[in-house]
Amino acid sequence: METQSCVEVKNEWGIVAARQAGRTLSKELGFGNVDQARITTAISELARNIYLYAQRGEIKIEIVEDKGKFGTKKGIKIIASDLGPGIPDLRQVMVDGFTTSSGLGAGLPGVKRLMDDFNIESEVDKGTTITATKWLR
């Protein structure tokens, strides 16, 4: 089983390829069909953001392990990065609500809700890196 894959996103085909990679990996790892769909949707949204706002970037998907007190848990980690314009006001884009009003209702807060962990780093004119993880229960 592959434990990692990396997809370049510069058009809608890239979005689909990233989705496919995420679905395959999450299925292999044993996620149920709803969680598979959620992980895929999160990847789709992140890839679409790259395509729409930064023109190009990449989506890395990897299987991760966390050794905690109660045993080892496995999960899937998405890293979406681009060298695009960056986000000037992170606080604003992370505010829940109707930034996402029409359309799929996703946006970054939507992605955050689909996953368990979420982190965003962005610098204007340097680019954005978003990391999101979902753990197997």
Binding site: N33, L104, G105, G110
Partner: protein, 337 residues
């Protein structure tokens, strides 16, 4: 009927199976009750589709591949609704918080209005003031002077809700800090106009009518700043006329001046002050005519002023389907003796 996370699947299977066997309405009723439980558990709609699919798999192990795949597809298509559903929950929490906040603010705002009921010898007074939303942009105020006469203000901040409420609190502090000429309508409006002009955003205006009722002479002296005309009722010939006053809206020009008008009241005569929330009551596409307001007043005119005001409000509220488009204030003064 109480479902736990564990037996949600069992319950759904039982209900679905029972429906497939009987097709009865009773089971569909049960299904809707079951959905209540899912919603309480914050189960997403795509989870419902997934649940449905897995139960169908159990009930029909021979389910054709295409049918199974069609459920997968439906689940995928339902994802967007799942996201909207989760957004809804967040939105609802935030809204609940916002509403709670505005409740507190509205309570604070109520303390800006006069606390005691007005009671003036020889006058029957009724006041109703209802915000369209929780916070009001209408304002009224009265103060009794040493002779037992009263000064009475009614104002409407153009705009509603929170900004209007902030502006209203400013008007209140401004009126409090005005010197003693409080009872002289034109001077009072001129003073207030300067305060509003200086302190309030250019996009915000205030209309006001201020009147002084002299309890000895039974004279009502008033001035107005672009405010919706009230009514004057002549008991002798049982007729209503408009009570209007020329004058610029507060806050537009530093140098506005205001004219004073005087009305003599005989026994049974009424002064009726109101905001445009009363007259611009809308039913569907149509506005109520001022004559229709008069008709509403006539209908309850035999009652005490307070009941009269409350009846008119109730009728207006019903005409508008219990949804006020604007804050509504109605003040009635009737000379009793």
């Amino acid at each position: 009927m109480n479902y736990t996370d564990n037996n949600i699947e069992t319950s759904y299977k039982k209900i679905l199976e029972s429906y497939l066997n009987t097709g009865s309405e009773h089971v569909l009723y049960e299904a809707q009750q079951f959905t209540r439980t899912l919603l309480e558990h914050k189960t997403s709609p795509e989870e419902l589709v997934s649940l449905h699919r897995s139960i169908m798999d159990q009930l029909y192990p021979e389910l054709p591949d295409d049918i199974q795949a069609s459920f997968d597809f439906l689940l995928e298509a339902m994802m967007g609704y799942g996201m909207a559903y989760r957004e809804h929950q967040i939105l609802r929490d935030r809204q609940q918080e916002l509403e709670a906040e505005i409740d507190v603010a509205a309570k604070m705002q109520q303390t800006l209005l006069p606390r005691e009921d007005v009671s003036v010898q020889g006058l029957d007074i009724g006041i109703v003031s209802v915000p369209a939303k929780k916070m009001s942009g209408d304002y009224y105020h009265y103060v009794k002077d040493q002779f037992g006469s009263i000064g009475l203000a009614i104002a409407d901040i153009i705009g509603k809700g929170v900004p209007a409420a902030l502006c209203m609190s400013m008007i209140k502090y401004a009126m409090d800090s005005l010197p003693e000429q409080q009872l002289n309508p034109s001077a009072l409006l001129e003073n207030l106009n300067r305060v509003v002009e200086q302190n309030v955003d250019d996009s915000m205006f205030v209309t006001m009518m201020y009147g002084y009722y002299n309890i000895q002479a039974h004279e009502f002296t008033y001035s107005g700043a672009g405010h919706e005309p009230g009514f004057f009722y002549h008991a002798k010939n049982d007729s209503f006329e408009d009570l209007s006053a020329k004058g610029l809206v507060l806050g537009v020009s530093k140098k506005a001046t205001y004219q004073e008008y005087v009305k003599q009241l005989d026994i049974g005569d009424m002064v009726i002050l109101l905001t445009d929330g009363v007259t611009e009551c809308r039913m569907g596409e149509e506005f109520l005519e001022r004559e229709e307001i008069v008709d509403l007043i006539r209908k309850s005119m035999h009652l005490k002023a307070q009941e009269l005001a409350e009846n008119v409000y109730r009728e207006l509220s019903k005409l508008q389907d219990f949804t006020l488009r604007d804050d509504l204030t109605l003040i009635i003064l009737r000379r009793q003796v």
